[in-house]
Structure formats: C-alpha cells, structure tokens
C-alpha cells in the first residue's frame, strides 16, 4: 500500500493502516488510472481508527512544521476535474513541528464520523472518502499521502412499496398493460412482473427490459445528464397476440447498481429507471420508462 508521491524522491515513506484492516470487509474500487484496488468498507457513524507510520529514508531526517491526518468526503465533478469539493473534513494533529530521524508511528481515531453519502464512481461525478496525511514543511512542498476507503449506507426495508401498474399504448396500434411487483428494489432484488397485450396491431420482433441509470450533475443551467443502460434483458421473442401475458423475472444481482441518490449535496443525483422496449420488425422501438428506487439492504450473513 505504499504510495510514493511526487517527482522527487520523497524523504520518507508514509503508511496508513486501519486498526481492523485485516478483518474489515473490502470491496474493489476502480481507481483513476483504471486499476482496481481493494478498499475497506465503512458506514456512517462508524469509528475510523488506525495508525500512521512515517519511515524516513535511510540516513535522512525529515524536518517538518507539523503532521496532521484529515478525513475528507469529496465530490469531484468531471467537468471541473481536479477540483474537489469537500463536504466533510475532519482533522487530527499528529505531531508538533520537529524532526523525524527514524520510523515513527502515530495512532489516530475519528469516532462516530458522519458520512451521509455513499462512495460513488459515476460517469461525470465521483464521490470519495479519503484519509490524508500531510507533513507540512517550510520552503519545500508538503509531503502528503492518502488512503481511500469506501462508504456504504444501508437502508431498512421500506414500509411502503407499491407495485407499478400502468396501461400504455398507441391508439389502434398497441395497448399493453404492465405490472412490476414493486417500486422499490434492493440491489439483489428480483423484478417480477407481467405484461399483458391488450391490442397488438404491429409486428413485434421482441421485447426487452432495460435498466437505465440517469446521473445528473451540477445544478441550474450547468446541469449535465448522463444516461447509461446497465442491463438489457430480453423478455420476449416473437410477436405476441392479443391476450397474451408475458412474465418478467429479472435478477438484479448481476448488475452493478447503486442505491438511488437524490440531490447529493446539491451536486448530483443518480436515479434508476426500468425501460420497457418493444421492437417491431422494422426495428422501430416503442418504450415506456418508469422510475424505480433502489436501496441498499443490509445483507444478512444468510443471504451471503
């Protein structure tokens, strides 16, 4: 986990370790350089503690005006890359100004940190949490080291969870009625439903159910909306006739979904939609989109 920063060879190695790093659950996260790395998972109001060790390069001393560790919650909008907006920022001073001649270890602890937002890595926006160690120095640039971690927050099972039922159609062409059993799904849920064909005058080739993610960033006139189709699931092959009903059963687990995020810190939103698409023989597409809300259900050990 050592990470050397800067073009110049830094005079010391900084290592950040979590106190329960061996046992804590880890997830893989995509880094900016495209590589994936395993990072520990926390949730809101957990205590984050660990150690920072500074190990100067052999025979060198590190002169500093102070060592501190920060816990940052940042939102990075890609149209404004490199510019992080910190919505959470906690600081702990680790050392008073002085020199470090040999390896020195500092324990740290942020207790009951409020981390209301989940880590998110989208197309136009990134929300991340990091621990950053800074060795402040005079005259030369500070030495910094940071460590990512991931935050996931769990929601309880919603009390209201109505089914989505709707009749749509094009006059004298196509009338269908579809039904999804719920409007709120957890990430490993199954979408169960049915589609009734009330009137079919077009030659349908197939029917798909798409899961789409809409990510809107910015606000006001600078709103960017990015829609991404995460899943295409063919429901039906061939042309149905009047009175047919086609079952839907779509397992969500294979797809990389996140909970629905609404207006995170006034910076961005992530919403999910089910898009029912009928394709006719001339490849015309008829669709109807319905928002569903996703939530993260605390995984009990039984459901692995």
């Amino acid at each position: 986990m050592n990470y050397l920063m800067g073009a110049f060879k830094p005079p010391c190695n900084i290592t950040i370790t979590f106190s329960d790093g061996k046992t804590r659950k880890q997830v893989s996260v995509k880094k900016e350089n495209g590589k994936t790395a395993m990072v520990p998972v926390f949730q809101s109001l957990e205590t984050i503690s660990g150690e920072v060790s500074i190990d100067p390069v052999q025979g060198k001393k590190v002169e500093h005006t102070g060592v501190k560790i920060e816990l940052l919650g940042q939102i990075e909008l890609y149209f404004d890359r490199g510019n992080f907006y910190d919505f959470t920022s906690l600081v702990r001073e680790l050392d008073v100004p002085g020199d470090i001649y040999e390896k020195k270890t500092y324990p740290f602890e942020f207790s009951s940190v409020e981390m209301p937002y989940e880590s998110y890595n989208g197309t136009n926006v990134r929300l991340r949490y990091i621990l950053r160690v800074t060795i402040s120095r005079n005259y030369v640039s500070n030495i910094t080291e940071h460590r990512d971690f991931c935050v996931r927050n769990y929601s309880p099972v919603p009390t209201m969870n109505n089914s989505i039922k709707m009749e749509v159609g094009i006059e004298d062409c196509l009338h269908i009625e579809f039904e999804y059993s719920k409007s709120k799904y957890h990430l490993k849920d199954v979408i169960i439903g049915k589609i009734y064909f009330l009137l079919v005058r077009i030659k349908i080739k197939n029917m798909e159910l798409e899961i789409r993610r809409r990510e809107s960033t910015g606000s006001g006139p600078n709103t960017y909306v990015e829609t991404e189709t995460l899943a295409k699931f063919e429901l039906m092959d061939g042309a149905p006739v009047r009175g047919e009903s086609i079952p839907i059963r779509l397992f969500l687990s294979p797809y990389e979904l996140t909970p629905t995020y609404r207006n995170i810190n006034n910076k961005f939103s992530v919403k999910y939609y089910l898009n029912l698409v009928l394709v006719d023989e001339e490849d015309r597409r008829y669709f109807k989109q319905q928002e569903i809300s996703m939530y993260r259900l605390l995984e009990t050990p039984a459901s692995s």
Partner: protein, 747 residues
C-alpha cells in the same frame, strides 16, 4: 450454440436439425449441472437463478429448462412448482417456431418428471392435477403458437407455410401423447378435465389443419374405452369445427377404432348399448352435415359408410340401424341429380356393399327399405356394377332367395342389368362386359328356389315379368335360365304327381307351360330362333314327361314353325333338324295321328336339306323315328327300311354329284354310316333289314373303295374296317347274335 436457436432464417426442417444438435449439447450440460450440484460446488437453487441472468430470452429459457430438470431431480423443490414456473416462463417466446421447439424441449425433459401417481415426484394430494395442468398448459400454448404460424408472413407463401406446419404437428401432438400416458388420467379425470379442455382448445383455435390433426390425435392416443364413455362430449365438438376440416376421415377413424374395439372384446358390447353409441354417432353426423352445407356429397357419404361399417360391426343384429343410416343418406342425397362424382359413387358402392359383405345374405339387404333408394342415386354404369356385386355376393354365399317379394325387391335392385335405362344409349358397352353381366343375371335366376311350389311359381312369374322387359339383347341370356328354372319346377311337380291331386292346386305344370310359352315367344320375337327352337323342344320334352300331349304338340308345332320361318341358314337347319328328330324320337305321348304328322314333317324337312350329305344323314336319322326301343314304342320296320333306302339313294346321288362336279368320287363315308345304321336295326331285330341287304351294301362299299376313281380316304377306310371287325366280332361271339351275323359274309 443456444443463441443460434434464435435465428428466424431457417425452415422448420433445418431448425429441427439445429434443435437436435442443441438438444444433445443440452443433455451434456444437464449432466454437468447434475454433477456439479451433487459434488456440492454450487446449489441447484443458485444455478437456477444464475441461468436466469442470461440476457437473451431464448437461451435463458433453454438453460432454465435444463436446470429445472436437474432441480426436479434433486427434489429440492416440488416438481409441480418448478414445472409451473417453467411453463409460465416459456411464455416469453412468442415466435411460433422457436416457441414450439422450446416447449417441445420442455415437454421432453419433463416427461419423466411429472408428478404423476406412482412417480417418485408425486407430491401431496392433488399432484396429478398439477401434472395434467402442466401438460395441458404446455399443449394449449404450443397449439396457439402452431396455429399462429399460419397467420404470419405474406399470403402467397400460404401453402409453403402449411406444409411447414404439418411438419411440426408432431411436436404439438406429443403433448397429447404424454397426457395419455399419465397414470393419473383415469376415466373420470379424462371426462371431467382433460377432454373438455383439449376440445375447447381445438374448437377455439379455428384452424383447419390443427383441428384435423388434433382430433385425429385425440382419437389415436387415448384408449377406446375413454372414447366410448365420452362419446357425447367428443362428438359434440365435431359440428363446431371449421368447414374445411376433413371431418369424415377423423370420424371414420373414430368409428373404425370403436368398432375394432367392439370386435376385439365382445364383453364391451353392452357398454356400447349403454352409451347409445349408434344414436350419438348418427346424430353427430347429422349435425356435422347440417353444420357444413358445402360439404361435398362424397364426404357425407363417406361418413355414412363409416357409420354403417360401425353399425354392422357393433350392432350386427340391428337391421333397423342399417336402414336408418341408409335412410339418412338418401335424405342427404335427395333433391340432387344423379351423382357424377366418381369418388362419391365409389363411396356409395362401398356403402351398399358393406351390408352385403356383413350379412353374406342378400335377403337381409332386401329388407332394407332404403337400399334401393340409395341405389337410385347412382349413375347407370355404377348401378350395373353394384348389381353385379350383389349378384356375386349371392353366388359366393349360395344364398337362396325364397320369396317372390324378395325376388321382386332383388330385381328392383339389379334393374340396371335387367333392362335398358331410360334415356341412355349404351352403344359403347363392351360386348364382353355385357355378356358377363347377363350371364350373372342368368346365374342369379338359378339361385332362386323355394320348397313351396306355389311360392316358386310366384317367383317364376316375377322373374318373368322382369326379364321380359329386358329387351332383345338381354333375352337370349336370361330366358334360357328362366325356362330351365321353370322346367325344374315342372319336374318337381311331376316327381310328386301322385300326392297332389285336386282342382284347387294352383300350381300345375300346365300353367307353367303357359308361362313358358309366353316367355319363349318373347325370345322368338327377338329374333333368336335357334335358341327358341331348342327351348321349345326342351319344353316339349318336359311336357311329354308330364303327359300333356296337347302342350307338347303345341311346342313342337312352334318348333316347326320356327324351323320353317326363321331358320334359313343351312347349317343351322341341319342342327335344328337333328335336334327335332332327336327330341321327337323320345316323345312317347303322342297319339298315332299327331305322331305321324310330326314324323312326316321331320322326314320331309330332312329330305329338303340343301346339301346331299346333310340330307342323307338327316334321313337316316329319321329312321329312328320309326323304331323306338321302348316297350310300346313304335316299331315300323318297313318305314325304317324306307328311310334307309332313301338315304342310300341320296348317298348315291351325292356320290354321283361329286363325280360329276369334281371328277372323283366323293367320300364313301356316307355309305359306311348307312351300313352302320343297317347293322343297328339288324341287331334290333327289324325284320325288314336282312342280312342280304347288308351284304349288298358291304359289297357296294368295297367296290366303291376299289373303284378307279376312288380317292383314298384314310378315315373312311378306318371306319369301314372297324365296322367289318365289329361284324367279325359279333360272328365269333356266337349265341343268337352270332347266328344272325353268320349269314353276312365279310369279305
């Protein structure tokens, strides 16, 4: 591989090949899954979910079915739930071809896993219902897809599609087969659930091809017993089918099957009665015909044929049923022209032949009042064919038709053969065929028989009435039969002469002879003189035996008149005169006067024959007329000699004529023949024939043979020498005959 199954470019046939390959692979996959789950690498539930992650519906469902099969086997979930899920999910494929194959795959893998009674997958109480429900559901869906195929694509490919569809029909039918093999489908279940559901589907799909095939399937796959018990339900579906459905074939099949069933196990017959199979069939057919006014006659008739066959096999004792069927058929045909459609007529022939074959007794058929009515609808040539069939049937079974009523009916049936049909001129009738037909009629006449003479007489009258209408072409064939039939009766009467006395006996030979006279007269008018002549003579002889002198005389007179007036051909004359002579010789009832007249006539005619040898032979034959070897026969030696001498004279004349005409003496065989006659009468003791006369004749012959002009005639020589040998032999034999011959010198 599975994604390939998504193609829609292949014809069903090719698609099937593809499917089979995929099927093999899926079998391997299934085995792999099973191994994996038993090894505990992953649970079958997970697997079941996992395969559903596949994005494309078709591969997903194939996989799902495959895992489903493993799932059921693992018994981790009740079979019925898995199956229900599978059949429900399969709805995702709405493309007919692909859907059919997918569902067929489903049905294939689930076949041995149905929660049937006695199956290891049997669940709680109503699991059979689940199994049935599953199969039915799958069947219904498949059928829908199959029917839908017809309506997709452009109109012009309709035929091709139809062909393709029939290639696929077994996929649909297999479900019914599976259904029939479920142990749990007992009669009750079948009656209450299975059949109504299937029929509902069949009727509702409104597709000819499907309806035809499925009805056929139902009939084929389920046991006969079930059909019998559900006949009403099953039959009620028929009138609701589409007009184009070939109901006749299906219904015939059903009836065939049931009648086979009845035939194979006689103990089920009561059941047939119980369910009133006949009445139901009959009304069903009626309704079908009603419901399909455009049905061609041939189909309707075919239906009746099947019904008839069924009736004959199941209720052979119910003649009224048979009649009813025929009656219904008549009703259907009535108001129409005679059938021109050759297939329809063929069917009618079948319809009419069936009872004949069954009862092997035409008499039964004759009781069917509608039988001739049906025949009326045939065209002439077919009527004939049918008549021949009837006759053949009688012949084959040597049935005796024994009452005049029946004879009347019978002749009504075969009237096509008996007389010319109105308005048709069958010039083109093959002569051979015609003869064949008429011969069969003639044979038929011989089959008529009744012990009771009175009835027999009636029969004869009836036959006479009918055949006299036959026209000139037929009479020569039929009249002889009738005559002989009548004569047979005469002989019978004669046989019991002593017993029957009294005026009130209506059947007398006299009466018969009157009839005969009329009959032959008709023949004589044809004209067919030779035949009539023979018949007259025959009758005369019979009359002779009955001691009816006037009648016999009358017949003879007729014969002579015929001879005089009608027989012109010299050869025919020769034959005729010999016949007359032969018959006359046997007559013994004539008084002297009558006899003289007749013999005189005969002799006279003999001498008037054209050719000398013929004259000669006729005259010496006449000699027999004067010498009858009976106790009280005529023995007029003098006139015998007279005849023979006359014959000799004629022979001589013939010889001379031959000499004059050809320069060589003709055959001497005439002489030798006369010699033989001499010898005969000599032996018989005619005093007028003396040994010297014979001696003279022998010498004459010898001279002739050695004469310069004699042409050598080996046969004549052989004849002569054998005659001489005979004389020698008689001599050597001794006794009275030997003494008699002693005086003849054989050179």
């Amino acid at each position: 591989m599975l994604s390939e199954l998504r193609t829609s470019r292949l014809s069903p046939h090719k698609y099937y090949e593809l499917y089979m390959r995929a099927f093999d692979e899926l079998r391997k996959l299934e085995m792999f899954f099973r191994e994996e789950t038993t090894r505990g690498n992953c649970s079958v539930v997970d697997l079941y979910e996992l395969v559903q992650h596949a994005g494309n519906v078709l591969p997903r469902l194939y996989l799902l079915c495959t895992v489903g099969s493993v799932y059921i086997k693992s018994k981790e979930a009740p079979a019925k739930d898995v199956l229900k899920d599978l059949v429900e999910m399969s709805r995702g494929i709405q493309h007919p071809l692909r859907g059919l194959f997918l569902r067929s795959y489903l049905s294939q893998i689930s076949r041995d896993k149905l929660p049937d009674i006695g199956s290891e997958y049997e669940g709680d109480a109503d699991s059979v219902n689940d199994a049935i429900e599953f199969v039915l559901q799958n069947f219904i869906e498949m059928n829908k897809l199959w029917v839908r195929m017809q309506h997709q694509g452009p109109q012009r490919d309709k035929e091709k599609r139809e062909k393709e569809r029939s290639e696929l029909r077994d996929l649909v039918g297999k479900n019914l087969h599976v259904l029939s093999q479920i142990e749990g489908v007992d009669l009750e279940m079948y009656k209450e659930t299975v059949l109504p559901r299937i029929l509902e589907q069949v009727v509702n799909c409104k597709d000819e091809l499907a309806q035809f095939y499925l009805m056929d399937c139902i009939i084929q796959v389920f046991p006969d017993e079930y059909h019998l018990q559900t006949l009403e339900t099953l039959l009620s579906a028929f009138p609701q089918l589409q007009p184009g459905v070939d109901i006749k074939t299906v219904l015939s099949q059903l009836m065939d099957r049931l009648s086979n069933y009845a035939a194979s196990s006689p103990e089920v017959l009561p059941e047939f009665l119980q369910v009133e199979a006949f009445a139901k069939f009959s009304s069903a057919i009626g309704k079908v015909i009603e419901a399909q006014p455009d049905m061609p006659a041939v189909s309707a008739i075919t239906l009746y044929v099947s019904l008839l066959t069924f009736t004959l096999r199941v209720h052979p004792d119910r003649l009224d049923y048979v009649d009813q069927v025929l009656g219904a058929c008549v009703k259907k045909l009535s108001g129409k022209e005679k059938l021109q459609d050759s297939r329809a007529t063929k069917q009618i022939v079948a319809l009419l032949s069936a009872p004949l074959e069954k009862y092997s007794n035409i008499v039964t058929a004759l009781e069917l009042s509608n039988y001739p009515k049906v025949m009326d609808h045939l065209d002439n040539s077919t009527t004939k064919v049918m008549a021949v069939v009837i006759i053949q049937s009688i012949m084959k079974n040597t049935t005796c038709v024994s009452t005049s009523d029946k004879v009347e009916a019978l002749f009504e049936l075969i009237k096509g053969l008996i007389k010319d049909m109105d308005g048709t001129q069958d010039d083109d009738v093959d002569e051979e065929d015609f003869k064949e037909e008429q011969n069969s009629v003639a044979r038929l006449i011989h089959m008529l028989y009744n012990e009771d003479q009175e009835e027999m007489l009636k029969i004869i009258c009836t036959v006479q009435k009918h055949i006299l209408r036959g026209g000139p072409k037929r009479l020569p064939f039929t009249v002889p039969s009738l005559v002989f039939l009548a004569l047979k009766l005469v002989r019978r009467l004669q046989g019991q002469d002593g017993d029957v006395v009294g005026e009130d006996v209506p059947t007398t030979p006299k009466k018969i002879f009157q009839i005969l006279n009329q009959t032959i007269e008709a023949l004589y008018l044809v004209p067919c003189p030779e035949l009539s002549l023979r018949l007259y003579l025959q009758c005369a002889e019979a009359a002779n035996d009955c001691d009816l002198e006037p009648v016999a005389y009358e017949f003879f007179t007729q014969a002579f008149i015929l001879y005089e007036e009608e027989i012109a051909d010299s050869k025919a004359q020769v034959t005729a005169i010999h016949l007359i002579i032969g018959t006359l010789q046997r007559m013994n009832i004539f008084g002297v006067e009558n006899r003289d007249t007749l013999t005189h006539k005969a002799t006279g005619y003999s001498a008037k024959l054209l050719k000398k040898p013929d004259q000669c032979r006729a005259v010496y034959a006449c000699s027999h007329l004067f010498w009858v070897e009976d106790q009280d026969g005529v023995k007029d030696g003098e006139r015998v000699l007279l005849c023979l001498k006359r014959a000799l004279r004629i022979a001589n004349a013939a010889q001379q004529m031959a000499n004059a005409a050809r320069g060589s003496s003709g055959s001497i065989s005439l002489f030798i023949e006369i010699l033989n006659k001499y010898l005969y009468f000599f032996e018989k003791g005619n005093p007028q024939i003396t040994s010297s006369a014979i001696q003279g004749l022998i010498e004459l012959i010898t001279t002739e043979m050695q004469g310069e002009n004699a042409t050598s005639d080996p046969s004549a020589e052989a004849f002569f020498s054998s005659t001489m040998r005979y004389i020698q032999f008689q001599k050597q034999k001794g006794g009275s005959m030997g003494e008699k011959y002693e005086t003849i010198k054989a050179s």
